[in-house]
């Protein structure tokens, strides 16, 4: 079995949004649609304040609420743990977007240029009509993983089989791999660090781990 997961080392993340833009490029998401983004939080009151940057996006839950509410079975959990959306089946009802505790889903009804008005040549080249009025979200760059695996590459190790956000991270904060493989980057990291998963109390069993310290 394979369970793909991602880790974000909060000690490393600097909130630069390079992952956000890399995802925007790799997945050609419309303006303002960020499948990966980094939030900027404060804790405490002046002068005892901490500020922390937290990468977020689809958590690829083992028990995804979005899948439960999908009326068309467009949302499915693949055998490798990646939660996917079949755009041909999706009717854009938005149930999944409401059900997702991580606010990871987006529905775009009208795509326009980031500059406003007519799409630029590059935007036009990347425009995909099938993404309109359907739910979209982080796919862990599933196409890239599948293509890479077909070439015998290892996701999380070989860049051509690894999500764009991980490849791009300039702080080495993001890692990816198969939780079931003890030698994968994520397994090795989680074996030696303290971590948490977001809203773990909801029982969704996210496939996204936040590292806070060494063990």
């Amino acid at each position: 079995m394979t369970r793909y997961a991602m880790t974000a080392d909060l000690r490393r993340c600097v909130g630069c949004q390079t992952c956000t833009t890399a995802c925007r490029h790799a997945n050609a998401t419309p303006a303002e649609v960020q499948w990966r983004q980094v939030l900027d939080f404060e804790q405490g009151t002046y002068p005892q304040v901490r500020r922390v940057f937290v990468p977020v996006g689809c958590q690829h839950c083992a028990d995804p609420p979005c899948e439960h509410v999908c009326p068309t079975t467009a949302t499915k959990k693949r055998s490798d743990g990646i939660v996917s959306i079949d755009y041909d089946l999706c009717i854009g009802c938005g149930y999944c977007a409401v059900a997702c505790p991580y606010q990871a889903r987006h529905i775009t009804h009208k795509s326009q240029s980031a500059f406003g008005g007519k799409r630029t040549e590059s935007e036009e080249k990347r425009f995909d009509e099938s993404r309109m009025s359907v739910a979209t979200k982080c796919t862990f760059c599933a196409d890239r993983i599948d293509a890479g695996k077909a070439r015998g590459l290892t996701p999380g190790v070989d860049s051509d089989a690894t999500p764009a956000c991980v490849n791009s991270c300039i702080a080495g904060a993001l890692a990816f791999g198969d939780l079931e493989d003890a030698r994968s980057p994520v397994s090795e990291l989680l074996a030696r660090t303290e971590y948490f998963r977001m809203h773990e109390e909801l029982g969704t069993e996210p496939g996204f781990y936040y590292i806070v310290d060494d063990k």
Partner: protein, 907 residues
């Protein structure tokens, strides 16, 4: 589906923390994606990654607001209220107009009636546009004399004071920790995680998980503060007090043996004896400074073999004391003391408790930090680097903007360097390092810039202050050679000079200052001073008076709005250039390799844009300077590599007209020959495929200490005898010329700094302009984010989109508690007013800022640039005065202003 997909290697150098190596994906001729060039991880110290700004390049290329046709102005009136009436013209007409102006100027004489070059030029963002400017510098070189006084994106607003003093003391144009090895960093406002680029971010992240503790000392909790172990919210402009208290603690709360006494004695001027008038006591015959030798119990020359100098003490000795203008005093058996003794005495008053009160921070902080610093310093530890045993001192201090420029920055730079010396941690592994040199070439390797100077110190090319050679009127409008001896007369000196003085003196000349003329012709490249300088409404009025401005234009902006001709160049993904990479360079570019990287046309040029190298060649030909231009390229001007050496010859023929590809092919061949020691001469085609070529360089190049030690050269710490002398001489020269408006700056020339109430300088300035300190109760500050730092990408929607994930953009950050007291809620429209005028924006309530401070991220306030003009962002520059009173002795000011706060409307 795309029928043809290519990945084209490129570099991004939009900020000084570059270059980043990347690839651009091109589908059927259209750029679609930026990706890091992960193959480069083999040589790139940031894992081969590229930062967020690089991802804006696709939108930058296809920006519908681009100027893609040469334009000329039809409205002779210039100003913010004047529509320039730009109309499209042909390249032939545009180039003819510019070349005719150049020829007319050359016919009149390249210098004007005041002796200033008639042609001026400005390029932006700390010269990073030189990675895009092609061979244009060779064209300027061919013209003979060009004035860079009006700023090139650096100068007074950058790490200005650090540039000068850093180079003086340890060839450090900028300063950083030896991050991979250090374990404790005190950061006074250095926003490394926002402005340090990929390499700094990568190195610090690696260091953090290995246990680096960084303490961030700054008025607001910056991005870097967020990534630090501790935040100390210091009152603005009191950093020097913190550092003085910190030094006091190191000197008084711990035994001397806890410091690196051996380093202080052998590698600094600590044992040099100071005579009654404040200058070194010298040997009458050799003029060398004296030290007290405990073996002979006598004063001897500092470089006498076999002596044991004393670190601190008061002695009776004879010798010569030499002051300003060769004033000399012969002393017989006078009371002298060591420089270190002077240091201890001077700092005695600056107790940690005093500092904590001045800085408005918790009691006990400074002593605790000093103890932690000392504990982490591991005095006595060593490390082997490439077979050489070196001291290991894993502690460093770094300073950020507004700390290392403007009033107080001399004190901070001095104290930082002194602290490093106290633990033997300057220019050694783990310690405080310089990155590159600019004013004291050669730049690379940095150690090549070490030259023995007087008194056992490094040489430094001060501008002369003696009566015979000092001149009030220099070759540049910003008066750097007259007012700032530290600015040197090196090729880069004018660009680093006090640019705001040039702008000010155009209209408001203080008594007896030289008359400053408008240049006949001003070239503007990738810079927008109408936004980025202080008092921007006044700057705009002065730009409008420039008689003829030629702007290389990407989109309409606030500066080229006043231009006469717009030349649209191919931009980042459309043009060709080869640059040097590797070695050591700011901000934290510490490579184990060096070589070259290529930027190439990944896509066809948009519209009727042209490669700037072709524009430059054409301008040179039409201006009648083609042979001088080709000669400059042959010498390596603009390219950084000579086209002919003993082993190769790829020179251009003087009178031939070369295409961009031919020129850069020759540069590539020369580069290949250099990198391979002549074994390869691959040209442009090779670099187009591979992107970069490097060779290994020694890690020892990172550290200056081994070479200083081998050459018997000391760090000029703690005592600034040279600066003291120069300051006295400068004062005399200025007073002889009837200039008294630089007197406050003269006080900064001190042998060991005496703390002054720096915040009071701003309070006094407010009072001078009819206000009160209470009326302008807030400190208005600015800060950077990685999305915008140096990027000139305010008009790129993707940057705006992702920048909004980081709090603070597009508004004014206000302390939550203070805002509540004032009835201000998050999102309310507020007005921030200085004694000049007001700027307005939405309130962003945050806990991570002092209650007496306000903060604006970035520096915007655009009113022309497409997209950016709709951001409705406030700007510190709009309300910050240009002022001699707010200018320090190095000619720098700071991005800080006293301001009032008022709610205008609810959200």
């Amino acid at each position: 589906m795309a029928t043809e997909v290519r990945k084209v290697p490129e570099y991004c150098y939009q900020c000084v923390a570059g270059p980043d190596l990347l690839t651009v994906k091109v589908e059927d001729g259209i750029a679609t994606e930026i990706e890091p060039n992960l193959r480069a991880a083999e040589v790139h110290p940031g894992g081969g990654k590229c930062c967020v700004k690089a991802f804006g390049l696709v939108q930058k290329t296809y920006n519908p607001g681009r100027i893609v046709q040469p334009m000329k102005r039809t409205n002779p009136k210039k100003g913010r209220d004047q529509d320039p009436g730009f109309v499209p013209i042909s390249w032939d007409e545009a180039l003819t107009i510019v070349a005719d102006h150049v020829k007319a100027i050359r016919a009149k004489g390249i210098l004007d009636e005041e002796g200033f070059p008639r042609i001026a030029a400005s390029i932006g963002r700390t010269s990073s546009p030189s990675a895009y400017i092609g061979t244009f510098p060779a064209f300027l070189e061919a013209l003979g004399a060009v004035d860079w006084s009006f700023g090139s994106g650096h100068g007074v607003k950058c790490y200005h004071t650090e540039h000068y003093l850093g180079e003086l003391w340890h060839r450090a144009f900028t300063v950083c920790p030896d991050t991979p090895t250090t374990r404790y960093v005190l950061s006074f406002g250095a926003n490394t995680e926002a402005s340090g680029g990929v390499v700094a971010t990568w190195r610090h992240a690696e260091a953090r998980v290995k246990g680096l503790k960084r303490v961030q000392i700054e008025p607001h909790l910056s991005i870097t503060g967020a990534c630090s172990a501790e935040w100390i919210p210091v009152r603005p402009k009191t950093d020097a007090a913190f550092l003085f208290g910190f030094l006091h603690s190191l000197l008084n709360d711990h035994p001397r043996a806890a410091l690196d006494v051996g380093f202080l004695l052998a590698h600094t001027s600590s044992p040099y004896l100071v005579a009654p008038n404040g200058f070194f006591l010298r040997d009458s015959a050799s003029d060398k400074p004296l030290v007290w030798d405990s073996l002979r119990n006598a004063a001897v020359c500092f470089d006498t073999p076999g002596i044991e100098p004393v670190l601190e003490g008061v002695f009776t000795a004879s010798g010569l004391e030499r002051g300003a203008d060769d004033d000399r005093w012969r002393h017989e058996q006078v009371r002298v003391e060591t420089s270190f003794m002077r240091l201890v005495k001077q700092l005695a008053a600056y107790t940690p408790e005093w500092a904590e009160k001045v800085c408005d921070i918790a009691l006990g902080t400074v002593r605790r930090i000093a103890a932690e610093f000392l504990q982490h310093a591991q005095v006595g530890a060593t490390i082997d680097i490439e077979g050489e045993r070196l001291p290991l001192r894993p502690v460093a201090i770094v300073l950020g903007k507004t700390v290392n420029n403007g009033w107080g920055s001399f004190d901070c730079c001095w104290a930082r360097t002194m602290a490093a010396c106290l633990v033997g941690g300057l220019e050694v592994p783990g310690g405080t390092l310089g990155t590159t040199v600019v004013l004291n070439p050669p730049r690379s390797p940095r150690k090549a810039s070490i030259k023995p100077g007087p008194d056992g110190f490094m040489a430094y090319a001060f501008n002369p202050t003696d009566r015979a050679r000092w001149k009030l009127k220099g070759p540049a409008r910003n008066a750097h050679s007259a007012l700032v001896p530290l600015s040197t007369n090196s090729p880069g000196a004018t660009t680093l000079g006090p640019a705001h003085l040039a702008w000010m003196f155009l209209e408001d000349r203080p008594a007896n200052a030289p008359r400053v003329t408008f240049p006949d012709l001003w070239f503007v490249y990738r810079t927008n001073p109408a936004i980025s300088l202080w008092d921007t409404p006044e700057i705009i009025k002065r730009i409008a008076k420039f008689p003829f401005t030629v702007a290389f234009a990407y989109v309409p902006d606030e500066t080229n709005y006043m231009a006469d001709v717009l030349l649209p160049e191919c931009t980042d993904l459309e043009s060709t250039q080869l640059i040097r990479i590797g070695g050591t360079k700011f901000i934290e570019q510490f490579w184990d390799h060096e070589g070259f990287a290529l930027r190439q046309p990944a896509v066809k040029p948009r519209g009727n844009t042209r490669d700037i190298t072709n524009i430059s060649t054409e301008l040179a030909a039409r201006s009648g300077v083609l042979s001088q231009y080709n000669d400059a390229i042959n010498r390596g001007v603009a390219t950084g590599i000579s086209l002919a050496t003993e082993t190769y010859d790829f020179r251009l023929e003087p009178k031939s007209h070369y295409d961009v590809e031919d020129i850069w092919d020759r540069v590539c061949r020369a580069a290949s020959a250099e990198v391979t020691d002549g074994n390869a001469t691959d040209g442009l085609a090779w670099y187009r495929e591979h992107g970069y070529r490097t060779r290994p360089v020694p890690r020892l190049n990172w550290y200056l200490f081994p070479d200083l030690k081998k050459n018997g050269i000391r760090f000029e710490m703690p005592y600034q005898e040279r600066l003291l002398r120069i300051g006295v001489e400068l004062g005399r020269r200025l007073h002889e010329s009837g200039i008294e408006w630089w007197d406050e700056q003269l006080h900064e020339y001190q042998a060991i700094p005496e703390y002054r109430d720096f915040p009071a300088i701003w309070a006094r300035d407010v009072v001078l302009h009819g206000g009160t300190a209470e009326q302008y109760a807030f400190w208005m500050l600015t800060s950077r984010s990685m999305q915008y730092s140096w990027g000139a990408n305010a008009g790129i929607p993707l940057m705006d989109e992702v920048a909004r994930n980081i709090k603070g953009h597009r508004g004014v950050v206000v302390n939550t508690g203070r805002a509540r007291e004032l009835g201000i809620a998050d999102g309310d429209l507020i007005e921030v007013r200085s004694y000049l005028r007001a700027t307005r924006g939405r309130a962003i309530l945050r806990e991570g800022i002092r209650p007496d401070c306000l903060l604006i991220m970035g520096q915007f306030d655009h009113w022309v640039m497409p997209y950016a003009k709709d951001l409705q962002a406030p700007s510190l520059n709009t309300i910050t005065p240009m002022s001699v009173a707010l200018t320090d002795a190095t000619g720098s000011g700071a991005d800080i202003v006293r301001a009032s706060l008022k709610k205008l409307a609810s959200a």
